[in-house]
């Protein structure tokens, strides 16, 4: 019986095990090897040791620029997105009529595929005729040239990411619905106002959701590709080029497979370090119901 059960376990999980070996572990090992070679896809790979990593980390100014751009974009868009979605979720969680309708309206932009929203934002952010600058002009603001300016191109991409803020709202709202009403009633009896209720009940109870969004958002923003590829092409003057678009250029435009693999590994290490940092810090601010806080 036990043997048969074990056998069936291995049969049932075999799709994942095979997939893991063929599409994850195997490629990772091969990629590590490739990162130590010089390879143009057509001639045999030439082993060059850690030369790719040395070039990448010490000589390649564009690579460091892409790292900086990715962090700039990732952190600011994640922070603003989290703050905005928290604010919106608090409003939508009020027991008022019509909240479902507002929720749906605000969510719709999040269903738009990135390719479509990227193409749309090219039009929206056009310097003179674009909707955004015409809107700003209503308030007498002379809108910036957005995608044409090295300074404004990253804020432009951040603005675009904020359009999809409804996606995060849904998760937070689901979390808020799970907070027992008694908590708020008890707090209200003790005289806590809405700001205090938010600070001492909503926020701690939501911290696991916020944490989950943070980890996923962090890894996601490190992988930003489509927006950059379609909206800016990385320009002007590489001001919006990010790590993955640069990796893509190296691999599939310039056929520098070895160098691109080295970029992939550095990206992986960055993702690991960040995830580890977030997890380490989580004890300090994520509150789980099952735990009793030591004071």
């Amino acid at each position: 019986m036990k043997k048969r059960e074990a056998l069936w376990f291995y049969i049932m999980v075999s799709p994942w095990v095979i997939g893991f070996l063929v599409f994850t572990l195997g490629p990772m090992i091969y990629s590590l090897y490739l990162s130590l070679t010089n390879w143009d896809l057509f001639n045999p790979p030439k082993f060059i040791g850690i030369q790719n990593y040395i070039n990448l980390l010490t000589k390649d100014h564009i690579f460091w620029k892409t790292v900086g751009n990715t962090f700039y974009y990732g952190f600011i868009s994640m922070f603003l997105g989290m703050a905005a979605s928290l604010g919106i979720a608090v409003l939508l969680n009020k027991p008022l009529k019509g909240m479902r309708t507002y929720r749906t309206l605000l969510y719709i932009p999040a269903t738009v595929p990135v390719v479509a929203s990227s193409l749309l934002f090219i039009r929206l952010l056009a310097p003179d005729a674009g909707l955004v600058n015409r809107f700003l002009a209503l308030f007498g603001i002379n809108g910036p040239p957005w995608l044409l300016s090295p300074v404004w191109v990253k804020p432009a991409l951040i603005l675009m990411s904020l359009w999809g803020v409804g996606g995060g709202v849904t998760l937070l709202l689901a979390g808020m619905k799970g907070i027992p009403n008694e908590f708020y009633e008890a707090a209200a009896i003790d005289g806590a106002n809405s700001r205090q209720q938010f600070q001492y009940i909503t926020l701690p109870m939501l911290s696991p959701v916020i944490f989950f969004n943070l980890v996923m958002g962090l890894i996601g923003s490190l992988q930003t590709f489509t927006e950059v590829y379609i909206v800016t092409g990385g320009g002007p003057n590489n001001a919006s080029k990010m790590i993955v678009p640069y990796l893509f250029d190296n691999a599939f435009r310039w056929y520098k497979m070895g160098y691109a693999s080295a970029i992939a590994w550095v990206l992986f290490l960055i993702a690991l370090v960040f995830t580890a940092l977030v997890f380490r810090s989580s004890n300090m601010w994520v509150y789980y119901e099952s735990e009793v806080k030591k004071s």
Partner: protein, 284 residues
């Protein structure tokens, strides 16, 4: 929450939400307006927020372009349907194994599974490309479809949570009635997790429908492109005037967005259930 909301608070709440909805909704109206614009307005880039031209024939013209949009649409549909089938079958099998069956090495395998969630897909991108190129799968949908038959960690994790909530007595009763492990999976577990399987299907749909990078890497032949790539190709193919045909591009974007909206409206109740799981309890 405070159940007696005072009038000023009510008014500010509605005011803020209405302003936000208008702000986030305006771009959608703009898409519609551009999609309905004439070729002349497009050439001059004269677009208005409120539509002032109504060329509804643009929605038919999109299917008569040199780029075959009905083909793009069918390619996307093929990709998404096979991806959903693959994910539903494989992730339910694997999740059942991890949730219910005991075997040496199981915990180790599960930790490996969880840790693969942290690996960005880009790390395996180049070797995968080389593998699929070696297999002669370039310019086919296979590199985009086949990996779905080998699950992903996220789906397994969610389904395992769901299966774990089913009382184990059910399995034992079925076992006494003479059902084997596969019988328990196919006749007891699968029918009980149907809502979760639908949710997995929806996730897979939304991940694959608008996917751009995969098709961009594997497909150079315009006839094989899924819709997301097709719309981008249309925007990048400059006409004689060197201006993208924005009205057609926006029609294409709407075509790309519509199925996502439909899935959102019809799948919302399944997603809500998983929103809670994915959002909070899953990581405990």
């Amino acid at each position: 929450m405070n159940l007696n909301i005072r009038l000023p608070e009510k008014i500010t709440t509605y005011a803020i939400l209405t302003a936000l909805s208008a702000l986030l909704g305006a771009p959608l109206l703009y898409v519609f307006s551009i999609a309905l614009a004439s070729d002349e307005s497009t050439y001059l880039a004269k677009f208005t927020l409120i539509p002032h031209e109504f060329h509804f024939e643009n929605f038919i013209r999109i299917f008569q372009l040199d780029l075959n949009f009905s083909r793009f649409f069918l390619n996307s549909l093929t990709l998404v349907i096979f991806a959903m089938i693959g994910q539903i079958i494989s992730s339910s099998m694997v999740a059942y194994g991890f949730a219910r069956l005991r075997a040496p090495g199981k915990n180790f395998l599960f930790i490996v599974l969880l840790s693969t969630m942290m690996i960005p897909g880009e790390v395996t991108m180049i070797p995968s490309f080389i593998l699929f190129r070696y297999l002669g799968w370039i310019n086919t949908l296979l590199p985009l479809i086949v990996p779905n038959f080998f699950t992903n960690a996220f789906n397994v994790f969610l389904l395992r949570q769901f299966i774990s909530r089913i009382p184990a007595e059910l399995d034992e009763a079925a076992q006494i009635d003479g059902l084997g492990f596969f019988g328990i999976y196919s006749r007891i577990i699968l029918p009980l997790i149907k809502p979760a399987l639908i949710a997995i299907g929806i996730f897979t749909f939304t991940w694959n429908w608008g996917w751009f990078m995969g098709p961009l890497i594997y497909i150079n032949d315009f006839n094989k492109a899924p819709l997301a790539l097709g719309v981008q190709i249309l925007s990048a193919t400059s006409t004689s005037s060197q201006v993208p045909p924005w009205n057609m591009v926006m029609v294409g974007s709407m075509l790309l967005t519509l199925p996502m909206l439909l899935v959102y409206f019809f799948g919302q109740k399944y997603m809500d259930e998983f929103g809670v799981i994915g959002g909070s309890s899953a990581i405990k």
